[in-house]
Symmetry: C2
Subunit: 321 residues, 2 copies
């Protein structure tokens, strides 16, 4: 579990993945200036790690054509860890050249999803991760590399995913040199018992190298699964502003856990996030403006913060949204 500098005061790290996971699924392309405004607003709300883009060929994913410019912009925001997704060594080289602070590599938990998503087996992906780590060690030793297991709790192609195999995959990735490895419920198929069981088991194997719980709200269980992961000892949570997001290779997968609802849950529970839920609710306006017609998720935005709400994080403004 690698916490970024300056984030030692919050109890958990919320890693905002909207600008990458949210935008990649949309057919429309958010203009670069809008992305900058959005990322600045997320930072202003207190988020200290943002997955700002992925480094993939622009012809495959034109939404991410401005990745290098976005990394350069995000790097100007004080205290922010600028996270970039890279599917392979070529992407990692580009991300490091652009100045990304941290790399995240998705590795599928099922062979079927791996072949459909990156046309490689899981074993081939572990080798690719090893090459990325070697490259990082040689050229940017201060940049953490994480690898998260996609479809760790179920796969739209394979159905159930072996917990033995997911656990072994995490161990292989740590042996390959990643700084942490997390588990993603890419298509929202997990349930709290399963989430707690698998995270507990993986933590038993890789200990402090455990990374993020990346939960989707596809079937409404997103926050219950986050709670289960928290109870298992996870302290990094991926989520997406307004719940934007999904997976292009996982049909029917929509809806990351909503950052503002997640922040509200933890702050109300007494767990410090360092993030201002009300500010996140207000900045949904940027999405309505710049992504006309895109579906925005989340319940806090409609209901507002409850009367007498007292967030756990000190010094964070929490006005009524």
């Amino acid at each position: 579990m690698v916490l970024p500098d300056g984030a030692s005061s919050p109890d958990i790290l919320i890693s905002e993945c909207g600008p990458r996971d949210g935008l990649q699924i949309l057919s429309q392309i958010m203009p670069t200036e809008a992305k900058k405004r959005w990322i600045a607003a997320l930072h202003a709300a207190g988020l200290r790690e943002i997955e700002v883009c992925s480094f993939v060929p622009a012809k495959l994913m034109p939404q991410m054509a401005d990745a290098a410019e976005i990394v350069a912009f995000a790097s100007t925001l004080p205290g922010l860890t600028v996270l970039a997704l890279v599917p392979n060594l070529r992407g990692a080289e580009a991300a490091l050249a652009a100045g990304a602070h941290k790399l995240t590599i998705p590795v599928s938990g099922s062979e079927e999803h791996s072949l459909a998503n990156v046309r490689r087996t899981r074993a081939e992906m572990v080798e690719e991760v090893r090459r990325i780590v070697d490259y990082r060690n040689a050229h940017a030793p201060h940049v953490p590399v994480e690898a998260n297991i996609s479809v760790a709790f179920g796969c739209t192609i394979a159905g159930p995913v072996s917990e033995d195999e997911v656990t072994r995959l995490c161990v292989s990735l740590v042996e390959a040199g990643v700084d942490d490895s997390g588990l993603s419920d890419t298509t929202g198929m997990g349930n709290p018992v399963q989430v707690k069981r698998l995270f507990t088991r993986v933590i038993g194997e890789i200990g402090e190298k455990i990374g993020a719980a990346h939960m989707h709200n596809t079937r409404g269980l997103g926050l219950a699964n986050v709670l289960a992961a928290y109870e298992a000892g996870v302290r990094i949570f991926d989520s997406s502003h307004a719940g934007l997001g999904g997976c292009p290779h996982a049909p029917g997968a929509s809806g990351n856990v909503v950052t503002e609802d997640l922040v509200f849950m933890f702050e109300a529970m007494g767990v410090k996030t360092g993030v201002d839920a009300a500010s996140l609710v207000r900045s949904r306006a940027i999405l309505s403006e710049t992504l006309p017609g895109a579906e925005l998720y989340g319940m806090l935005a409609g209901a507002g913060l409850p009367k007498g709400y007292r967030p756990a994080s000190p010094g964070v403004m929490h006005g009524q949204p």
Copy 2:
């Protein structure tokens, strides 16, 4: 905790409150025949307790004018506990005359909400509950009476609600003779830590007399709060088909926990509900048809059951919705 006859096989009791809690908030009135079709579909999906109506003056709540006819119809469905909400002795007399199998009485957790909702103090409501129990003892001793604390986790008028006072209120209600007493998050202000703490405390005081967790999804925490209540030992959960519902005296309160999502969560977790989630998804069509324009909530309906889904309940059909 009073489980109805025939429900000893499931691990938990889901008490469907849509026909009462869902309909009372809507301005449109569901026709009596539509209500019957809906209740029959809920029963066919495996639900074995349904809060079918409230006994209140028809001029105050015309949506419930057909309460007696609905109770008579629901009583023909085999194995179903026909639950009716009654706010006072007059309502209880009418409900028992109509043949309701079980009565539920709401008692506010805050003085402010109590006065706004029923123009009575909480102490006056405890006295009213005692009169209802006395009447029940004299005229229908086989009919269980439950009293649930509204706004137990926060009040839109008063803000935070004293956990000492809620606990004492539950004890007073049990002393007044109710069969069980549960806690309602009427306006979706609770969080999992609070829910677990307060249920644990109340169970410590009233033990097996603990009733339902009635959670709302107002701010997206509904299922996380259900999970917290389950972990505290609660085994009865109120929920509403398609998340219909709210409270007319709690502004901004919308969205009961969605029955189909709740069933999916528990069945996936290995907790038997006896209810078929796919059947509930299909019967949302009755609501779209008969309540045009009403907002239907829930995530399972859009996503469908996951590939390889294996529900815990044996003998329940779980087709793809």
